[in-house]
């Protein structure tokens, strides 16, 4: 890897029961993914308020990914279905505002899918890095 290569900033919201555990499993198995991915633990993917995502972009994030349990496997029965619908709506609005669709993603990663977690993060980081820095929605006042 080159030293001056552009490093995207990626915020990952992971549900406590599946994806956060999947991320832990990726760690247990020493599967690497870029350090640009920073994980925030939430009880369920449905806890992710669209405002959190807007805030991340406002503060300079280049990509936001939400990971939850597979459909049908939500620890809270139905939370990930809400996520799926809410995010579909939010992402199309973000696209309208000029944030490329590739910068946002919802993925289902179970607690047993450490390898999928690492693969997903590698792929997402690569996709976001290819798009370059995100300028849209960024609040320049946030940058000193």
């Amino acid at each position: 890897m080159q030293m001056n290569e552009y490093k995207p900033l990626i915020v990952a919201f992971c549900c406590n029961w599946c994806s956060y555990a999947g991320a832990d499993l990726a760690g247990n198995n020493r599967l690497s993914y870029p350090a640009d991915v920073k994980i925030i633990r939430v009880p369920c993917s449905c806890r992710v308020n669209p405002m959190f995502i807007l805030r991340a972009f406002q503060k300079g994030a280049d990509g936001v990914i939400i990971c939850g349990c597979h459909p049908g496997d939500c620890h809270y029965t139905s939370g990930n279905y809400y996520t799926r619908r809410r995010m579909a709506l939010l992402f199309s609005m973000l696209e309208f505002l000029g944030i490329e669709r590739e910068r946002t993603r919802v993925e289902w990663v179970s607690a047993a899918e450490g390898a999928k977690f690492a693969e997903t993060m590698n792929d997402f980081a690569e996709t976001v890095a290819a798009l370059g820095e995100n300028k849209r929605l960024e609040d320049l006042r946030c940058k000193k």
Binding site: R30, C44, C69, Y82, A111
Partner: protein, 664 residues
């Protein structure tokens, strides 16, 4: 303003290997609210915890951040530490710098930089933490065991032994499961029925245990300590409390051509049947698919011959609802279908059988009375070929079989080969294998006996094709050690079919909100340290529903699950999760949106009187969260349009603060 202490753990070299721990502690010193920041070799050790306690007391800390392993690992540990020092346990936040940092990033600058950011996010969050007190809920002192195989039987017996009532729900007309179908068990060769049926009788005679056979779980509500479970008792058309199990009806029933699933359809039973002689409960069941009376209304023989009047053709499915404190899943396994393995000619020849079918052919209560005869012509087979790993360890053929090792096949094949050679010494037995895997007490000795004492031909290599030709089965295989192609004319081919979780497990997992892996085995709360608990509180795992196991392992896991259940049922009250939703009544406009998205029905609306600034009062409809029922998913917080709903422990402000800290 909070007074925050930051404790960075080395975890030996687990963290310190790729994170400059001292630099992290140094960098976090100047974050808002931080009054002390330090590092230590092992924070979770006694000395590390003492250090945290002292720091809390000495610096009058109001919150702590531990930069260590995953919160799934030690959050509870550090919460206890904080509580011991007089700090509210919910004033603890963990920055996961091991599983999600040091173990995934290879170089020190990257790891250190990320660890600092994760630390900053945790500090930003703990700055906004508030002390939380968990609510309490009572415990229903009764357990439910789903599945009546050896796993379920042992679990139920152990729980009942401790004095707690247990219900077993079994889909089949009898308990016993797969073990009841086996002939002998490895590595001791004792007869399966001889060791199982006394346990079945113990279950039947134990006054703490109720058996709901021919039943299934149809709905699960509630949470740990307070599950409400609806059990569907399928109509068996025989009154269970009246039937004496004399079996007269099963002899007189004119419908004789019903495939007998207990003998894997290798012989026939009647439309009214008792699966096997030692069935528990020993009660007849009418199979509505085959019964002439139920289908056409013309017959009624069983009703006429029944001396006690137990037959009831008008029986209907019944639903009963019971309360349970704990649920044990023991749904077991099945061999996979051989449909996709046509190279072994399973569908073309009756003489290609699975190992479970062989168990029945060798069992004295089986279709041949225990004499090993070819299913096609009833002749004694003289050459028998065993094919190992049929569908197991299929890494390149995952669409056909399973990637995992089914674990039991090597041992049961050694058993079968040994028993056959013992009983019929004129038989040639070949076993084709990829590897022979025999870890376990007295297992390898057992396998070596099969080879050395009983002269079973073990050949490393796989069978390519089995073709039925002129009453024989032509087996083409490779011998990998001699590098030869082999052609064997076999009389019987036995396939060691991979095992898979029972099909009922997937819908059950959904009802229980218990997680499963990609193979539909139930996931345990921790693969090493909490192997019999599901991540869902109050749901425990017993036997092969969690992964392939043999009988000794299943029995020990059943005992372990029972001990966890007993530990739970011994408690009078459970402390709940205080991270629940909370509605700000001043902001709530009573729109009902949150009520609609709540999967638990935890939100209700009340009319509440509010004092207005002009000293008048006004009644408004506001949301109220039942904290004992709320599980803290947070769906309502996002649905709430007025921003009144928030989730304690994961408040909007806290998550915003984390986002800000990460994006700085």
């Amino acid at each position: 303003m909070q007074r925050i202490g930051v404790f960075v753990c080395h975890c030996g070299t687990n963290i310190a290997g790729t994170v400059d721990v001292k630099a992290v502690a140094e960098a976090l010193k100047f974050e808002p609210g931080v009054v002390v920041s330090t590092d230590y070799q092992y924070m979770c050790s006694q000395a590390g915890q003492e250090m945290i306690k002292e720091a809390i007391i000495e610096n009058k800390l109001t919150g702590i951040v531990v930069c260590s392993c995953s919160p799934r690992m030690h959050e509870a540990t550090f919460r206890k530490t904080a509580a011991a020092a007089g700090l509210n346990p919910y004033m603890v936040e963990i920055a996961n710098i091991r599983e999600q940092c040091s173990w995934v990033h290879k170089d020190i600058p990257t790891g250190t930089e990320k660890a600092i950011i994760l630390g900053k996010a945790a500090i930003a969050k703990v700055n906004l933490n508030a002390p939380l007190t968990p609510g309490e809920s009572p415990v229903t002192k009764r357990a439910l065991v789903i599945g009546g195989g050896i796993a379920g039987i042992q679990t139920a017996l152990d729980i009942a032994d401790a004095g707690f009532p247990v219900d077993i729900v079994e889909t089949k007309p009898t308990i016993g499961g797969k073990m009841a179908q086996l002939d002998k068990t490895f590595p001791t060769l004792d007869c399966a029925a001889c060791i199982l049926t006394p346990k079945m009788v113990d279950v039947a005679t134990n006054d703490k245990i109720r058996i709901f056979s021919y039943s299934e779980v149809s709905e699960v509500n509630g949470f740990v300590g307070n599950f409400d479970v609806t059990i569907k008792r399928r109509a068996r058309y025989v009154k269970e409390d009246i039937c004496t199990g004399c079996g007269l009806c099963t002899e007189k029933c004119p419908q004789k051509k019903v495939p007998n699933e207990f003998n894997l359809n290798m012989d026939n039973r009647r439309a009214i049947y008792i699966p096997f002689a030692q069935a528990v409960p020993k009660v007849a069941t009418i199979d509505p698919e085959s019964c002439t009376m139920l289908k056409t209304g013309k017959c009624g023989v069983c009703s006429k011959v029944c001396t006690v009047g137990a037959i009831d053709y008008n029986a209907k499915d019944e639903f009963i609802t019971e309360k349970y404190g704990a649920i044990v899943v023991a749904t077991g396994f099945n061999p996979i279908s051989m449909d996709k393995f046509d190279e072994y000619a399973y569908s073309q020849s009756k003489d290609v059988i699975t190992s479970l079918e062989l168990e029945r052919l060798m069992n004295a209560a089986g279709p041949t009375g225990g004499t090993l005869l070819r299913p096609s012509d009833g002749e004694h087979p003289h050459t028998i070929v065993f094919v190992q790993c049929v569908g197991s360890r299929c890494d390149s053929c995952a669409e056909k079989g399973k990637e995992y090792c089914s674990k039991i096949c090597c041992m049961y094949t050694a058993k079968h080969a040994m028993l056959i050679r013992d009983k019929y010494p004129d038989t040639d037995v070949y076993v084709f294998y990829i590897d022979v895997r025999t870890p376990g007490k007295n297992f390898d000795e057992f396998y070596r006996r099969a080879v050395e004492e009983y002269g079973v031909h073990y050949i490393k290599g796989m069978v390519g094709k089995v073709s039925p030709e002129g009453g024989k089965l032509k087996v083409r295989a490779s011998d990998l050690i001699d590098g030869k192609q082999l052609n064997i004319d076999a009389d019987l081919v036995v396939l060691a079919a991979a095992i898979e979780p029972d099909k009922s497990a997937r819908p059950l997992a959904t009802m229980l909100t218990a997680s499963m892996d990609t193979n539909d085995f139930f996931t345990e709360a921790h693969p090493k340290l909490r192997p019999v608990e599901s991540p869902t509180a109050g749901v425990y795992l017993s036997g092969t529903c969690q992964g392939p196991k043999d009988i000794p392992e299943t029995v020990s896991q059943a005992g372990a699950a029972a001990s966890m259940v007993i530990a739970l049922l011994c408690k009078d009250k459970l402390t709940g999760n205080p991270c629940v939703a909370h509605s700000d009544e001043m902001m709530c406009n009573g729109c009902s949106t949150c009520e609609k998205v709540c999967p638990y029905g935890a939100i209700t609306y009340i009319d509440k009187e509010f004092r207005m600034p002009d000293r008048t009062t006004k009644v408004r409809r506001v949301a109220q969260v039942n904290e004992a029922v709320c599980q803290g998913c947070g769906a309502c917080t996002v649905a709430c349009m007025s921003g009144a709903m928030d989730l304690k422990g994961f408040t909007n402000k806290q998550i915003f603060a984390e986002v800000d800290a990460i994006c700085k």
